[in-house]
């Protein structure tokens, strides 16, 4: 739960330091802008649609999917998942540090999140290059069409995530800004990337 001022209003830029000294109240507020949670909901519905289509196609041709799946390296997928989960952990630590008024630590954690995101980005590019090198492109077969589509649309979310983390850095950098609400909104977006990846990983790499 995010900090809430005594009058019930949400913290603004510059309020964070004083609010950080107060114990967190158990209130009905969600972390960050509630509007970002609406985005999480939209995205969840949208990706549910993609996943359902994937499952329906898979049921119609299970052999092709199993054979193609065997071409993916589970270790890379696991590494991707581990890196993104670690990035979620560091962004959560960033939020916690900002709440406690420890902005240097919050900045360190958001830079760590960017670093983990970058590691994910590079490993995904290498994985794509590796699969293309083996002759499995976007139009090779239905499974690989889904593989490139789902990982690419997720990759696009990741790129937007770097802009969002840039906003978080911008907020934490100067004492004149430091909106806890924006920091939490950015973290919510980053967790969404992680959440979507975990499902994509399960569907593409793990499910047999």
């Amino acid at each position: 739960m995010t900090n809430v001022a005594s009058d019930g209003s949400r913290p603004r830029g510059g309020d964070v330091q004083s609010l950080a000294d107060e114990p967190a109240e158990a209130t009905g507020y969600v972390p960050g802008q509630p509007d970002m949670w609406a985005f999480v909901l939209f995205e969840a519905f949208l990706f549910t649609g993609y996943f359902v289509v994937y499952m329906v196609c898979r049921i119609q041709n299970p052999e092709l999917y199993l054979q193609s799946q065997a071409q993916l390296d589970l270790r890379i997928g696991t590494f991707n998942t581990f890196v993104l989960l670690t990035s979620s952990w560091s962004v959560a630590r960033c939020v916690q540090s900002a709440r406690e008024g420890e902005f240097r630590s919050a900045l360190t954690n958001v830079f760590l999140t960017i670093l983990f995101g970058f590691v994910f980005l590079v490993s995904k590019l290498l994985e794509w290059a590796h699969e293309i090198g083996k002759g499995f492109g976007f139009s090779s077969n239905e499974f690989f069409s889904f593989y490139y589509f789902l990982t690419a649309i997720h990759f696009l979310h990741l790129l937007i995530g770097f802009i969002v983390l840039g906003v978080v850095v911008h907020q934490l950098w100067s004492p004149a800004r430091r909106s806890q609400e924006l920091v939490e909104t950015g973290a919510t977006y980053w967790h969404t990337i992680d959440f979507l990846w975990v499902i994509i990983f399960a569907l593409l790499y793990v499910m047999r």
């Binding site: 802008q33 509630p34 509007d35 970002m36 609406a38 985005f39 939209f42 995205e43 949208l46 649609g49 993609y50 289509v53 196609c57 976007f138 139009s139 239905e142 069409s145 589509f149 649309i153 696009l156 979310h157 937007i160």
Partner: protein, 284 residues
């Protein structure tokens, strides 16, 4: 929420005569009549657009991308009259885009952001009408016009029309991002921030159309479950939401330059109306 709550304080009571009488009254007395005109044009345009494309011409949902030349000729034959009559009406109502785009740009003009946002949005969305509507309709009309034409030529027109329709994706993508950025930067609270994020969601569905350039069959072809059906669901939700939010914006509009006043409930409006008399009574 009462839509009339805010307007009641700024407008004298409208007469309760015939529809024509009330329209004339609003034209003379309502300072928002141009906004309401544009809004109603938008509602009429989208409804007509839906009826004409889905029911009269029956070109939507899109037919399969994999049809061969003889099947495409048959497809045109099945819709011959609908295509000619439907697209004749589409060309007649194309001008409805003008007030629609004007209202969308007005919403950004009312925000506390640079004028670059509404101007770029206006140009982008006016441009989208060329591939998304005009080129598509012209190509399909030409295809239907002379059924005895070489089937390969009709097949070419068929591909051209549907690829032109999908060709709007990049334009809508940037348009949605412009609107999103304007809302996020705006301090006048013209739209809620969640609508900015819905714009992002809509922009991402435009990207999803791009596989239609590669695939002729399956979920990524121009008629596919991912490329068309899921995108259409998002588009309908997005359109319904922005039409509703634009209506709220017009109701809230005070023609100032600061934050738009919030809509009040009827109870709050009644409470506000009572306040002056109470304070006057106290003063006496």
């Amino acid at each position: 929420m009462s839509a009339a709550a805010t307007e009641a304080g700024t407008l004298p009571d409208a007469p309760s005569g015939s529809l024509l009488h009330r329209i004339v009254w609003h034209w003379r007395h309502n300072p928002k009549w141009e906004l309401w005109f544009a809004w109603w044009m938008m509602v009429v345009f989208y409804n007509l657009y839906g009826v004409l494309f889905f029911m009269v011409t029956r070109v939507q949902p899109p037919p399969p991308a994999w049809l061969d030349a003889s099947s495409v000729v048959q497809w045109f034959d099945d819709r011959h009259q609908g295509l000619l009559v439907g697209f004749a009406i589409v060309f007649l109502i194309t001008g409805f885009i003008v007030p629609t785009n004007a209202l969308l740009a007005y919403s950004m003009r009312r925000m506390s952001v640079s004028r670059a946002f509404p101007y770029s949005y206006l140009v982008i969305y006016s441009m989208s009408a060329v591939p998304g509507m005009l080129l598509t309709c012209v190509a399909l009309t030409v295809g239907a016009m002379r059924p005895d034409r070489d089937p390969e030529l009709i097949h070419w027109l068929y591909d051209f029309a549907f690829m032109a329709f999908d060709g709007t994706m990049g334009v809508f993508l940037i348009g949605s991002l412009v609107w999103m950025l304007a809302i996020l930067l705006d301090e006048n609270r013209v739209f809620p921030k969640w609508f900015a994020y819905l714009n992002l969601c809509n922009a991402l569905t435009e990207v999803v159309v791009s596989p239609a350039w590669i695939f002729k069959r399956g979920v990524f072809a121009w008629d596919g479950a991912i490329t068309w059906w899921i995108d259409m669901v998002v588009f309908v939700i997005y359109t319904t939401v922005f039409i509703t939010l634009l209506r709220r914006m017009i109701v809230r509009e005070d023609f100032g330059t600061g934050p738009l006043p919030e809509l009040r409930t009827e109870e709050e409006a009644a409470e506000d109306a009572r306040k002056p008399s109470v304070s006057m009574g106290t003063a006496r």
